[in-house]
Symmetry: C2
Subunit: 416 residues, 2 copies
């Protein structure tokens, strides 16, 4: 689809950050936060930020200064670099548990027509300096985007893209293990997995690499979309790994892959298993989900009293052969625009601004994990949740003869 | 608490809508929507709206023109009046099912030191013209705010306020029944209920009045808060009415009272029972919940493919005797500022702007209930939900010997 660029004219210039497309479907501003920051007076912006980003321990979120080598990498390799800090209250009986967490979003590197090995290696090459920036910044836990080794080719329904699938201990994992060991960093590496021991089955999987470079485990995507061009169910099935929480050197983490973020029960299950940070590596496009993007993650962070790191890839990926996915759209060769906007949400309803909607980026945040329990103690959502009611409700719902609890007005058909 | 008012100076004036308080905790702008509308260029505002309010069937939400008598009532009685319309796609085999829905938010009318009967009757008197405005606007289903007959006195822990409790067929219900019959309107009337047949037990209850003035049923608040000054657990217990959906002449409705909005499982259960519109009559204050307010309702509307009407009372209610609720706050006589901001959320992630943060108001929206099933068909959240997994998870979680699914790094204590 070709789009004509149009500039949205504003009082105070800064047209660069506010380019738009004439069909209105994708707009060219880098992030809502930056758009508002450049358009509102500082005092108004502060008020709007309080409403949109919440307050962390009663204050606006603080930014963090990163070491010069990280900044140099960001400027040399042209990726967005932002860093914040979530505080928690001081406790009397427990020391703060501050971890530094990173999220990487990126576009692919070569056209999808290039040889597959070249495509993959070019992404390795592109990611290396961003991972280095995370490492030299002292990041403890880093998460990459969904299926980071490849274009998100699941729109095409073509099976040749399955070649990108790798076993859990494959080339991409080995690539990541080196960084994990070098930087003493836990890394979550979401890939297309080939399960050789089970008949070459494919899965959408996050591999968890421990801070000693060890493979700590894996989690397979629980919920698979069938919407728009997201023809992923052509490639892999619903995961069979439950809702594991990984106890790492830096906290208890879990991974809710992409479409699983639309399922409150999926978020809940990671919470019940004790997660303190849940990552949501995703690939999602503007027209379909952009207004939902900050809502769902923030809600899950609030409801489950844990931190969330949300990642979305960036850019528009053009495929060699046109495809259709219904909805009356003509055949096309792209998925739409992956709008980036990676960010963190906290259990106290605060969140960071988002990374660029267009550029590769590294989002870093310090977070005191003590905030999770503090919010549980404050709001008491676990205590007041009445899980027994819902265990029963769901068990009943699964019965073939389930009858909803409906009270029908006996006067329903009486004429007024 | 006394607060010093301070004006936030902006480029283009309109100071009236942007008054602030010097402690930053409560700000004087009427709504985020109006604040941005008055501060951004029309084109930028359109972009920001797309991000913040979503798109309804691919377009910005449309406003609706109301009849003159309704507008006259709004202007005579000084309440905010806004009206919008949620569209759905046309279907081939089903006619549109458009209903007009209303939400009322209001402050109390007399000081809390006035005789109780006078206080209650004064609220009746204040509400009458707002309900008339809804009726003359052709509203089909109307919802009032939580415990609308009384000040939200549950901060005080004083038991004298229990006098406001009424049986389901008490005076306030009779007052509402007249309007329901007159205007052929379903009305949800959330009150403090006195259950005379069960030993004078108190409940936080929504009474559902059918469009013939009949009492269709009731629902009792499922989740009771213990946070901040919300000492409601001193007055009533968790409800025992399950998650009923009421099949009315205008659609299937349910009520998630106040704190229940923090519980995704509560929203889910109303959805599984078939609700098309869920009302969330609330009483909540700025410092505690304002940034969470739009997040939780919108997320629930998306996740459960139904409409939500969110209502919060307005104003600051001063009580005769000071009280404390911990958190290191000195004794005080008010709950904080109830910030109004009533609004609708739709299953397609769009939402209306909010009513005033300070004034009484009536929010009206047309909604084509066909949108609910259309979104279920589009996104497939029910189909992909894997409820059997979570029924089992919750059943296990309830067992005393439940063990979370945790994978511990065997190298956890190895020095790098």
């Amino acid at each position: 689809m070709e789009r004509e660029e149009a500039e949205i004219v504003t009082e105070n210039g800064d047209a660069e950050a506010k380019k738009g497309f004439s069909d209105g479907s994708i707009c060219g501003f880098e992030s809502l936060h930056r758009l508002l920051q450049s358009s509102l007076s500082p005092q108004l912006f502060q008020e709007v930020s309080r409403m949109l980003l919440g307050m962390n321990c009663g204050r606006p979120l603080e930014t963090v200064s990163l070491p010069d080598p990280a900044k140099a990498l960001s400027s040399t390799h042209d990726f967005d670099l932002q860093a914040f800090s979530f505080r928690a209250d001081n406790e009397s009986l427990r020391a703060p548990r501050i971890v530094r967490v990173g999220l990487i979003q990126n576009s692919i590197s070569l056209p999808t027509t290039a040889p597959f090995l070249d495509q993959k290696r070019a992404i390795f090459q592109k990611l290396a300096p961003i991972i280095d920036a995370a490492g030299t910044s002292g990041v403890n836990i880093l998460c990459l985007q969904e299926a980071w080794t490849m274009p998100f080719a699941f729109c095409t329904r073509e099976k040749k893209w399955c070649e990108f699938a790798e076993p859990v201990d494959g080339e991409s994992t080995q690539f990541i293990q080196d960084f994990a060991l070098k930087y003493n960093m836990v890394i979550i590496s979401p890939i297309l997995e080939r399960d050789v021991k089970h008949g070459e089955t494919l899965w959408n999987t996050a591999v968890i690499i421990g801070n000693h470079g060890n493979i700590l485990g894996k989690h397979r995507k629980n919920h698979i979309p069938r919407v728009g061009d997201f023809n992923e169910s052509t490639y892999y099935m619903e995961g069979n790994t439950g809702h594991p929480v990984f106890e790492t050197a830096f906290g208890k983490i879990a991974v809710n892959i992409c479409y699983g973020r639309h399922h409150p029960l999926n978020w809940l299950a990671f919470g019940l298993n004790g997660a303190e940070i849940v990552f949501n590596p995703s690939a999602t496009v503007g027209e379909l989900s952009e207004p939902m993007w900050p809502i769902e993650a923030r809600n899950a962070a609030i409801a489950n009293s844990y931190f969330i790191g949300s990642i979305n890839r960036v850019g528009t990926e053009i495929f060699p052969n046109p495809f259709t996915s219904g909805d009356g759209k003509p055949q096309h060769t792209d998925f739409g625009h992956f709008y980036g906007s990676s960010h963190f949400s906290a259990p106290d309803a605060s969140c960071t601004p988002s990374l660029s909607r267009f550029k590769d980026g590294l989002m870093i945040s310090d977070m005191d994990l003590n905030l999770c329990r503090q919010l549980k103690d404050k709001w008491g959502f676990r205590m007041t949740a009445r899980y027994e009611l819902y265990a029963e409700m769901l068990a009943n719902y699964m019965k073939p003869d389930f009858e909803p609890q409906v009270v029908t007005d006996p006067l329903l058909h009486k004429i007024p």
